[in-house]
């Protein structure tokens, strides 16, 4: 055998030595190679055979001997020990553990909560099958229209008709006013909603004059009947009619809007018998002109909505051939139900949810950056520990596994705490409403398991990345170096940490600026003139129609109610109104005496019917003319009070008093007064022309068809008035459904809801972000100061001024913060557009907000960096040098 071959075989053997357990290889690898070399030189090819045989016999023996020396070895046992060790490690550094778990919990919890919200609104708003086939239309239809549409089996796999209203249900002697759905017999079948108990409707239930049956919503079944299956077959009284409960709709199904609060469903054909007011007409189901149904279409696969809509138009025109439908200048348009489900403000709902998502993702990113920073400092502290473990023979794989287990333990603890945080956050979110007034509470949010798992995975991944990577690197470094506590990678490590701090500061600035912007717009919104004064007003609503009141009885009820609440102590004014400001709107097309509209101009009035004391009760100022009086009764001349915008638009700024307007049918209303503009729907609306009509002269409210609302102004505490007001109303008639007893302020809370919610959320997260960023900055400065203790000690010993030392350490901590501030301002300028729609009279680039934010954050960063800097400058050089 020549030398070259011998050398090659020796190298091969040396390589094969890596197959042995590390401790043996480390302790004797060199000697083994030496032996093999000598053996090869002396014995030639025979040595090769013997070495091969030796490898084959000794490898399994050595691995077997190297297995962890425990009575019942095995992977799980080892894991158990690792977990035990990890828990002990964390137990011994409670500060780190608490910070890490809290960071993870808030990041995971917040993201889970917001993802659950996004899931309930944007991703899966309705619990119906194959939602992508379902379409809604822009027009309501009559029952004959609906029947004709449903007959088009060539286009649709089913058409469901539905209408909603409130009904008075008496079960077990209690009268409750609940939302009811009147639905076609195929409703549950076409939407794919199974029964949770009993049965749902079939086509045979939906026949005129069939037996009266009802299906409960799962939500109401749970809340009102305690999920008692015994309720099936029971007879309840609905608006005075006996109705048999036949079943419960599937869990999670909540009608065709995510915030639907329907408690009980009836067949469509039961409408004339169960509903009240207009709906009691026996020919309800035949009148072509009464368009009271919403139709929802399940398109056959392959049918385009654009192709189905013209068919609907032609069917409609055929049925309505004799009518003048000039006001219907737009044909049917089919929109996906998914889009429609979010209501008219679908865009702003999704923008808002996305905004929330951005906020929580920012929070998670800040949290991850912070966690990474924490773990980096630990990794450098633990270099020594890891070095010791390696030196006494722990395998690198074992050490890495241990670190991985530690990260996992942390992530699991964080995930568990995140679960708590998520449910807390969901509770808190329930108190808010989405833009457009959709109550988050009504969405029945549940913790989304998928989101939880995903976020835990992300956080865990971050932990593993930042925990294991540096530890692995430390483990790969030479053992002796780590034992000598020399940190060769100081520079790169502190640069990484500085970058993380800069990122944290930048993201914190975005959140803090967001808080500032929302706070400013909240202040502006609260200062904005509303056109009414909400303080000191209690409200209550009644629906006398549901209690089957006649007009005369209703009139007597309204009068007695006013008389009774006036006798309550502290009441200064009380009035009925058909519309609570910002809680719905009525509109009619109008003709104005002496006003010539432009071609194509719509002349209209938003309107309400109010009793004489309304302007004092609501706090709306009457600018000219007179308020209504008791003389403005049915039969008396029709009168009205208009707002300033109506004066500007329809009377060209001239005095309208004595002028006339008509809502049709040649009934002329004489204008007797002018009131200030009041908000109709939202803060940033364009002012609309408004007319107030006397409550007693109003067609619908007074005749007990629509609900009526009582406003009671007090010079005392309106909260204390709520109980007595409700009591007085119930004292008149126990069966009259009284509901929504609350303060005026609570009812109009929607107005500032986006600003309020934005402020609250941003404030919470930015305080959190600030705290995390401050910890991060402090951490970097302190870390650098500790690493450079020796150097600083020498500098001081050589006569460096303490101020120089302070400046040195301060700069280390503060520079990344300054970089972060600059990046954060740039980021805010770009990201501001997201929030623009929710701000009120504040630009997302508001320089004052940005300036103040940067100064606040800069100050905090300065303090966080200054503390370790001061400590470093007071270093005792002798002790500093001795420590090494």
């Amino acid at each position: 055998m020549n030398d070259r071959i011998a050398h090659a075989i020796e190298r091969l053997y040396a390589a094969l030595l890596w197959l042995y357990p590390p401790p043996l290889r480390i302790a004797h690898g060199r000697e083994m190679r030496q032996c093999a070399r000598t053996q090869i030189r002396h014995q030639g090819w025979i040595a090769v055979a013997r070495l091969g045989a030796d490898l084959l016999t000794s490898l399994p023996v050595e691995w077997w001997r190297a297995r962890p020396a425990r009575p019942h070895g095995g992977l799980m046992k080892g894991l158990g020990r690792d977990i035990h060790y990890a828990v002990r490690v964390f137990w011994r550094s409670p500060g780190f553990t608490l910070a890490a778990v809290l960071t993870l919990a808030l990041g995971i919890g917040a993201n889970t909560a917001i993802f659950s919200l996004a899931d309930a609104t944007l991703l899966r708003p309705l619990k119906v099958s194959r939602i992508d086939q379902l379409y809604a239309t822009n027009w309501s239809v009559s029952y004959p229209d609906y029947k004709a549409f449903a007959a088009r089996g060539d286009l649709f796999d089913g058409v469901v008709g539905a209408s909603g209203g409130r009904v008075n249900v008496v079960a077990d002697g209690d009268a409750v006013l609940v939302d009811a759905g009147f639905v076609s017999g195929n409703y549950f079948g076409v939407l794919g909603v199974p029964p949770a108990a009993g049965r749902v409707f079939g086509p045979s239930d939906d026949v005129p004059n069939g037996p009266l049956v009802g299906v409960l919503s799962h939500r109401w079944w749970a809340s009102h009947f305690g999920r008692d299956t015994g309720v099936i077959g029971r007879v309840v009284r609905v608006n005075g009619q006996a109705v048999t409960i036949v079943g419960v709709a599937g869990e999670g199904f909540r009608g065709l809007r995510p915030s639907d609060t329907t408690a009980i469903y009836f067949p469509l054909t039961a409408t004339p018998r169960v509903r009240t007011g207009f709906f009691t007409r026996p020919d309800m189901l035949e009148i072509v002109g009464m368009q009271w149904l919403t139709a929802t279409f399940r398109l056959k696969p392959g049918v385009e909505p654009g192709a189905a809509a013209p068919v609907l138009d032609s069917v409609y025109r055929h049925i309505h051939a004799t009518e003048d439908d000039s006001d219907r200048d737009e044909g049917f348009v089919l929109t996906p139900l998914r889009t429609r489900a979010l209501g008219g403000r679908a865009d702003s709902v999704s923008r808002f949810v996305v905004l929330l998502g951005v906020v929580v993702v920012l929070a998670l990113l800040i949290g991850c950056a912070n966690l990474a920073n924490l773990l980096l400092s630990r990794a450098s502290v633990r270099r020594r520990e890891i070095g010791v473990r390696l030196a006494i023979g722990a395998g690198r794989v074992r050490v890495a596994r241990q670190l991985l287990v530690e990260s996992l333990v942390l992530a699991i603890a964080g995930g568990a705490a995140g679960l708590l945080a998520a449910s807390g956050l969901l509770n808190a979110l329930g108190r808010f409403e989405l833009p457009g007034g959709m109550a988050i509470d009504a969405l029945d949010l549940r913790i989304n398991g998928l989101a939880l798992a995903f976020t835990a995975l992300v956080s865990c991944g971050t932990g593993v990345l930042f925990g294991v990577a540096p530890a692995w690197r430390a483990a790969r470094l030479d053992v002796l170096g780590s034992l000598r506590s020399e940190s060769r990678s100081t520079t790169s490590r502190s640069r990484l940490r500085a970058t993380l701090v800069a990122v944290q500061v930048a993201l914190s600035l975005v959140l803090l600026a967001g808080t500032g912007l929302f706070l400013r717009s909240l202040v502006r919104a609260l200062d904005a003139p509303l056109g009414f004064r909400v303080d000191g007003v209690a409200t209550a609503s009644v629906n006398l129609g549901a209690a089957r009141y006649t007009t005369a009885r209703a009139a007597a009820f309204y009068d007695e109610a006013l008389a009774r609440v006036h006798r309550l102590p502290g009441v200064t004014a009380a009035a009925w109104t058909a519309v609570v400001p910002t809680q719905g709107a009525r509109v009619f097309s109008a003709t104005i005496d002496g006003y010539r509209p432009h071609p194509k101009e719509d002349v209209y009035f938003y309107n309400s019917a109010v009793s004489p004391d309304y302007f004092r009760a609501a706090g709306t100022r009457l600018l000219r003319g007179r308020a209504f009086t008791d003389a403005d009764r049915p039969g008396a001349p029709l009168v009205g009070i208009v707002n300033e915008t109506a004066v500007k638009m329809y009377w060209n700024g001239r005095d309208p008093i004595g002028g006339r307007a008509s809502g049709g049918e040649d009934k002329w209303i004489t204008i007797v007064g002018v009131a200030e503009d009041a908000r109709v729907t939202s803060l940033d609306e364009k002012p609309v022309p408004y007319i107030y009509l006397p409550f007693a002269q109003d067609g619908v409210a007074y005749r007990s068809i629509d609900p009526a609302h009582l406003l009671v102004r007090t010079d005392g505490d309106e909260q204390a008035l709520l109980g007595p007001v409700a009591e007085q109303l119930r004292a008149i008639d126990r069966d009259a459904p009284v509901y929504d007893v609350s303060t005026f302020a609570w009812r109009v809370r929607d107005l500032v809801m986006p600003q309020q919610m934005g402020t609250t959320l941003f404030a919470c997260f930015s305080v959190l972000a600030l705290a995390l960023a401050a910890i991060g900055i402090y951490g970097v400065a302190a870390y650098v100061a500790v690493l450079r203790t020796r150097e600083l000690g020498i500098r001081i010993a050589l006569g460096a001024a303490r101020t120089d030392i302070r400046r040195l350490v301060l700069r280390q901590g503060f520079m990344p913060a300054v970089a972060g501030l600059a990046a954060g301002i740039a980021l805010t300028l770009v990201a501001g557009r997201f929030a623009e729609a929710f701000l009120y009279h504040v630009s997302p680039r508001d320089p004052v907000t940005l300036g103040v934010t940067a100064v606040v954050l800069g100050t905090i960063a300065g303090v966080a960096a200054w503390i370790p800097a001061r400590r470093a400058s007071r270093l005792d050089p002798v002790r500093a040098l001795r420590e090494e």
């Binding site: 083994m32 000598t38 000794s58």
Partner: protein
């Protein structure tokens, strides 16, 4: 060395440990010399490779049967420095105990007139 741990815990010795202790009984040796000595003592019947040898030595070091002497070149081989091992007093005591155990075994076999098997191959 006031006390020596009990030797009983080590008995019976594995063949590898017995051979290494025997090889070191007269003098300290480095790894390759131990391999050669074992082969010589057993007439070539037992040949230890580096894996078996050092795996065993590692455990013997851990249990205190052998210890490292020093590192020096072996004049018989080359001028490469090699690590030498020597037997500890514990190792010597264990080897003595094992020899006593084997002697008793051989005596008992003789008493029963058990004849050794034929010539070793």
């Amino acid at each position: 060395m006031s006390r020596i741990p009990s030797t009983d815990a080590f008995l019976p010795l594995t063949p590898a440990i017995s051979h290494i202790l025997l090889a070191l009984a007269d003098t300290e040796r480095h790894g390759y010399a131990i391999m050669q000595e074992v082969a010589r003592l057993t007439g070539g019947a037992t040949r230890m490779g580096p894996g078996t040898l050092y795996g065993t030595i590692k455990r013997m070091l851990a249990s205190g049967l052998v210890e490292e002497a020093d590192e020096r070149p072996d004049p018989d081989l080359d001028d490469e420095r090699r690590r030498y091992y020597r037997m500890t007093p514990l190792g010597r005591a264990v080897l003595a105990a094992e020899t006593a155990r084997m002697t008793a075994l051989v005596d008992a076999a003789r008493e029963k007139r058990v004849k050794p098997a034929g010539k070793r191959s």
